[in-house]
């Protein structure tokens, strides 16, 4: 692993070597940075006192014996999946395993991770030990607890010192992959589940009192799956390494990207929801419709993508679009209408991808793929679920936070880019419509949009027709998010110079080709920082689900758990826990953004 990481280091350090930074000895560093003048000395002392006071207050809050931390521990399952039934819980673990495998393989294929000098790692561990010791002394612990924490700090210090010493052995500076450090840390955490007596908390409906709290390690249903997950992650990473060496790079990466895009709908609608397909109906109705569209669409599209088709193809494409709209006149299966509209989009875009037989075959294959995925999704969503869960939707808690965030981000990207292109286009109608939409949506608070979609829209629908609450909310989020995203993308588009447009025109590209292959790639690269910031914003905004009564992780922590007889008055504890979850994910996203910026060379070129 250290070999690959040193290769990465060499790769990223191409070009001029970074300037040497002279390291000061600790005493001088402190003097220069913290006590350089009387004013800065005073500032240092005051800030340290304030920080220590805050740390002490936080610790006394966490370790106060009146805190009901067992409310958090007992409701862990509620926090993450709400009412997902125990006997089907293997589906949740399976979905998690799929995501972990994809993450690990992607990390290997994209060569994630960096190398850390051992000496630095040792120093970090020593600093961590010092912090731990400080906390142990600050916190209002009993004497025995203080001793335990001090011992833990000493252990960390010994490990840190050992690492630091081993670094200086031998001549060259020894490094370790950041992934190794990550795996060792996670392994330590997982091992602690088996060893450290965190306590065993369970809810038993048939018992009085219904909440059971025992000392000892956590339940087997928690520690065993996490151990397996860690093993899977390591195995998948090693497999990813083999894939990277053996298979060509670009097809592997494209396959992984497609798998990432397919993962959310497949995991949610096939694995977690577990629809019970009515095979008779599928064979008699869904398959024939799919086959008809697949065949007819392929014929039409392969004709449309012939360069010689010309203007007649455009007329056909528009006819399909008009027919698609007119299918809404008569009652018929929704899937027929949606497929028709999808075909119209493909037909309209066909001239852009016109070319030789290979191009045409690819385009038709693309059509078959998208049609297949959509047909399957429609069938799966309309099939009743076998997971019986009280309440509207089959998952809740953090799962629904994550699901709404992922769907919003994935769906609002194409819509936002389209809006940005429309707003910068030369066609006045599109420009006006896009501007109106963006300015209108940006002028309305998100809560208004969400309440409109959750409370008003059901009243507008004909009686008996239900728009699922989660679906309604996702639509609201997507509309809101795409308006903001469009402005971020527009900023990126404006950074593409006039010369690029003219050069593209000069080589005879059509407007669509110019946009797709010249303008967007350059514009989006510039827009990465605001786009990632936007994604983090969307992830955190999902907490507004709480206002309309969807059981997301915040609503559960703030309202539902304090509403249990056993845990009245436990809001603060659970809010702290929820904020930690949010922080972990938002921080990871911002770290990922930093890596992405480095990789695309943003701010360097």
């Amino acid at each position: 692993m250290s070999e690959t990481s040193s290769a990465t280091a060499a790769g990223s350090a191409s070009g001029a070597p970074p300037p040497e930074v002279t390291r000061l000895p600790p005493r001088q560093w402190v003097k220069e940075n913290l006590f350089s003048s009387p004013f800065s000395s005073a500032l240092t002392i005051v800030t340290s006192i304030v920080l220590l006071a805050i740390a002490r207050a936080l610790l006394s809050f966490i370790f106060n014996p009146i805190r009901q931390w067992n409310s958090t521990a007992t409701n862990m399952q509620l926090f993450f999946t709400r009412a997902y039934p125990d006997e089907q819980y293997i589906r949740v673990w399976f979905s998690l395993a799929v995501i972990i495998v994809l993450t690990s393989i992607s990390m290997a294929v994209w060569r994630a991770g960096s190398s850390i000098p051992l000496a630095r790692l040792g120093r970090k561990l020593l600093a961590g030990a010092a912090l731990l010791l400080l906390l142990a002394l600050l916190a209002p612990f009993s004497a025995s607890a203080t001793i335990q924490w001090t011992l833990a700090a000493a252990c960390v210090a010994v490990i840190g010192e050992g690492v630091r010493r081993s670094a200086s052995k031998g001549g060259a500076e020894r490094t370790v992959s950041s992934l190794t450090v990550l795996v060792v840390t996670l392994a330590g955490l997982v091992a602690s589940l088996w060893v450290v007596p965190y306590g065993h908390h369970t809810y038993i409906p048939s018992r009085q009192p219904r909440v059971l709290a025992e000392s000892g390690t956590v339940a087997l249903t928690t520690k065993l799956p996490w151990t397996i997950m860690l093993l899977i992650a390591v195995a998948a990473y090693l497999m990813g390494g083999v894939i990277r060496e053996r298979l060509p790079v670009n097809p592997t990466r494209i396959t992984l990207l497609i798998l990432w895009l397919l993962a959310p709908p497949v995991l949610i609608y096939l694995v977690l929801r577990d629809p019970s397909f009515d095979m008779g109906h599928v064979i008699s109705t869904d398959l024939p419709i799919f086959a008809a569209y697949a065949l007819g669409g392929s014929v039409i599209l392969s004709w449309l993508t012939r360069p010689s088709t010309g203007e007649a193809g455009r007329i056909l494409a528009v006819t399909i679009l008009v027919v698609g709209f007119c299918t809404f006149l008569t009652p018929m299966r929704m899937v027929v209408r949606l497929d028709m509209l999808l075909l119209a989009i493909f037909a309209l875009a066909a001239p852009t991808f016109a070319g030789g037989p290979r191009n045409r075959k690819r385009y038709v294959l693309g059509w078959l793929g998208v049609l297949g995925v959509m047909s399957w999704l429609i069938t799966a969503i309309n099939t009743p679920s076998t997971v019986s869960v009280p309440g509207g939707f089959f998952i809740g808690g953090f799962s629904i936070t994550l699901m709404v965030a992922v769907f919003t981000i994935v769906l609002s990207f194409p819509l936002g880019i389209a809006l940005a292109l429309a707003r910068t286009s030369t066609m006045p109608i599109f420009r006006l419509l896009a501007t109106w939409f963006i300015e209108f949506v940006r002028g309305v608070p998100l809560i208004t949009i969400l309440i409109f979609f959750s409370i008003m829209v059901p009243l507008f629908l004909p009686r008996g027709m239900h728009l699922g609450e989660v679906a309604a909310v996702v639509i609201g989020y997507v509309l809101f998010s795409s308006a903001y995203l469009a402005e971020n993308v527009r900023g990126g588009l404006q950074s593409v110079t006039r010369g690029q447009h003219e050069a593209a025109d000069a080589v005879g590209m059509t407007t669509a080709q110019k946009t797709l292959f010249i303008v967007l790639p350059q514009g989006l690269r510039v827009a990465i920082p605001p786009l990632v910031g936007h994604c983090i914003g969307v992830f955190k905004e999902t907490s507004l689900l709480a206002i309309i009564g969807v059981f997301d992780v915040l609503y559960i922590g703030r309202i539902v758990i304090p509403g249990q007889t056993e845990f009245m008055g436990s809001t603060k504890e659970n809010l702290l826990f929820v904020s930690v979850i949010y922080w972990i994910f938002a921080y990871q996203m911002s770290k990922a953004s930093q890596r992405l910026e480095q990789r695309t060379g943003l701010g360097e070129r």
Partner: protein, 375 residues
Amino acid sequence: MKSKLFKIFALFLIIGAVAAACGSDSEEAAPATTAAPATTAAETTTTAQVEVVAEGSLLDVVQARGTLNCGVSGSAVAFSETQADGSVTGIDADFCRAVAAAVIGDADAVNFVALTASERFTAVQTGDVDVLMRNTTWTQSRDSSVGMDFGPTTYYDGQQLMARVSDGFSASSTVADIDGAVVCTNVGTTTEKNIAEAALLAGADITLLGFETSDEVYETFIAGGCDVTTTDGSALVGRKVKQQPADQEWVIFPSTPISKEPLGPTYGQNDSAWADAVNWTVYAMIIMDEYGITSANVDGECASAEAEVGRLCGGEGELQTGMGLSADAFHQVIRQVGNYGEVYDRNLNPVGLYREGSANAGWLDGGLIYAPPAR
């Protein structure tokens, strides 16, 4: 370039016009769509699920569907709590289960829908829920202009106040005694309005502090941020039992609440068959409580029962079958869920609420819980 753009623009204009035409047409076609046979009307879409709503009573719809969609709060202590495994318990949840036992025959055939206070009536109007058991107070405006109908009251609540004994309050204190006090309560509910009105009538000058959640109210109260806290009596008792610190003594007053909060089942108006089914489920549980027939002894009692109990057990049958239920509907309710007293004790005793001496005692014991005769 220009002419090409113009062509595309013209094309989209035409599409737009056609689409607009389609749109206006489809509005006219809408009645035809709804009148289409059930097979086509049961059309489903990616995001929307269309359900056939037969003209007639919700009772038939629920029986055909096989599950009861019951609107609850999902986060009201002792009334409807969402537990660690996602199940819903509480007195409201038990009445949902009772209605399911009566109408469908299976107390577990309930789909609990958690609703916020603002969503609850919309959910009934759109048909998302069949009945609301969401500690909803029966008021004139809700009964008339909001378009709801109310069933028999299952819990008589009322707003009261809670303060510290060390501040000189006792169980015999009145609203007039809180003159000059800081009063904490939840915002956005009627409790805020009730206490303001009551204080005005009693001539007490108070400072109101509003909080988003009840937990924040009690955190502030315990920390001494307010002298008095006020909400429904049931919630105050629960908080006193669970949260009173060792160094404080709290007292609830006045003995006559400052507001009337009758809580019970709520459903859409103008559906008598459905209203009868829900109401008589509650009445049957009250009558069985009067006779002392519980889930433990109902099978034995019903086997040899006569008169009123016999009729409710389904002995003669036509009383229940006449209203669209199976003859043993109420027998199932008692067996699977329990009578009124059992349901009350199971859910409310743990938070310190007892029937004796309260408005929720049976009418023979001086309370208000009363049911018309089954005959």
